[in-house]
Symmetry: C2
Subunit: 219 residues, 2 copies
DNA sequence: ACTTAATAACTGACCGGGCGGTTATTTAAT
DNA sequence: ATTAAATAACCGCCCGGTCAGTTATTAAGT
């Protein structure tokens, strides 16, 4: 399935074609798919190359190392998504609760259900072996995302929409089930299927907002 | 730090001693420590042996393979803990909310703060490469644990203590932040420290119980 | 147009170190 | 003397990374 079926250029008498511009993206895509499936260490560069429809040597024309490919996957695929989210938050008009509900469900649709959902598990799994990458991810993705959520939560607290509490901890609570589900999906799902994820997230949101909307929270 | 400091038997004129009974436990302990630190693939059997104060060959007198060591870690260390929890649930007298609160905090003290907390991350990380182990873990740990929580939740629902809802999903919600925190501790914690975990769990419990204690939950 | 030279994309055989696993040998214990 | 525990040298495979050579593409020359 899909073996160098890129566009229609497998045609002709050539064994291969020169496609300098298209290669990096194809490599990144192939790598993400395999990383998601097998993890970083267990992914063989030969397999990445084969899936991208090139030879292993060609990988090294575009990336310095296996780790560089990993980094490129994270860098090129996540940035745009986050930017879109930040924009959405700025422009939103409505209650903060509705905004957060939309963000959670939107994240699941755009990230959770795509192969991007493999990245959290990848980062967690390989953080010990690639600390620089973990650091980069925390700075550029985790903290940046949490900042957005904290911002919305605090806006809601000031508006009297939510009970006042530690917004950073509350933000963690809000995304914990999401991230957890993404990680699960790429690990234990075959033996313990969550089933209807949006329903799960709905329950989470109901419990969460009712929980922070009124007087149960200390302090 | 702690290099073959098992009891005092590095002493004397002997290069080593025969300690057939003590070896397996020491190997398991050493393996868990290294697995927690480096992950499964990146852990070298030479290092496990060194940490256990023996040679690599000796490992194979007690275990068939690296994977068998992994399996032994999970099997021998988790069973007893779970059994204790099940007993506690049976014998408990008090509100179901209090029981769950105690279980959560107790879990963090007994598991979260010990090196056992590394196991969830290990399983998640290696599930792709060791599916049999993942399957075993889901059956013997995940489902068994969730069963206990579901039981308590349903008991509370029937007693009118909690709102009726899908207890299986609610159980997932309850332990998601716990498990997430354990995984975090062994991955991104150096760059994104959670800080006071009991405080985090308290906020979670407050939000959760207030959320399911009254009318916000659909259905 | 046609040939030839120059360039850059791409290939795939190869290498070397690392590591899981084995075994011939040594040593403690009885 | 015999047995069993432990060792350490050893094997062989695997895979990330390299590089000498091959092929598509482009440019120059006639």
């Amino acid at each position: 399935m899909m073996l160098s079926t890129h566009k229609s250029e497998a045609r002709g008498p050539y064994r291969w074609r020169r496609r300098k511009e298209a290669r990096p993206e194809e490599i990144i895509e192939a790598a993400l798919a395999l990383f998601a499936e097998k993890g970083f260490s267990a992914t063989r560069l030969d397999d990445v190359a084969k899936r991208a429809g090139i030879s292993k040597g060609t990988l090294y024309l575009y990336f310095d190392s296996k780790e560089a490919i990993f980094r490129a996957v994270v860098e090129t695929l996540i940035g745009p998504k986050l930017q879109a989210i930040e924009k959405r938050v700025d422009e939103f008009e409505g209650t903060n609760q509705d905004l957060l509900r939309q963000l959670v469900h939107g994240w699941w649709q755009n990230v959770g259900e795509s192969s991007l959902s493999a990245i959290p598990k990848l980062i967690v799994s390989e953080s010990g072996n690639f600390p620089e990458l973990a650091e980069y991810f925390v700075k550029q993705v985790v903290k940046r995302s949490r900042k957005v959520i904290v911002h919305v939560l605090e806006r809601g607290m000031e508006a009297g929409e939510f009970k006042k509490c530690d917004a950073k901890l509350a933000a963690r609570l809000l995304y914990a089930p999401m991230v957890q589900t993404a990680i699960w999906k790429h690990s234990l799902n075959p033996w313990d299927d969550i089933g209807d994820v949006p329903a799960y997230l709905d329950l989470h949101l109901d419990v969460f907002f009712h929980g922070i909307a009124s007087g149960a929270v200390k302090k």
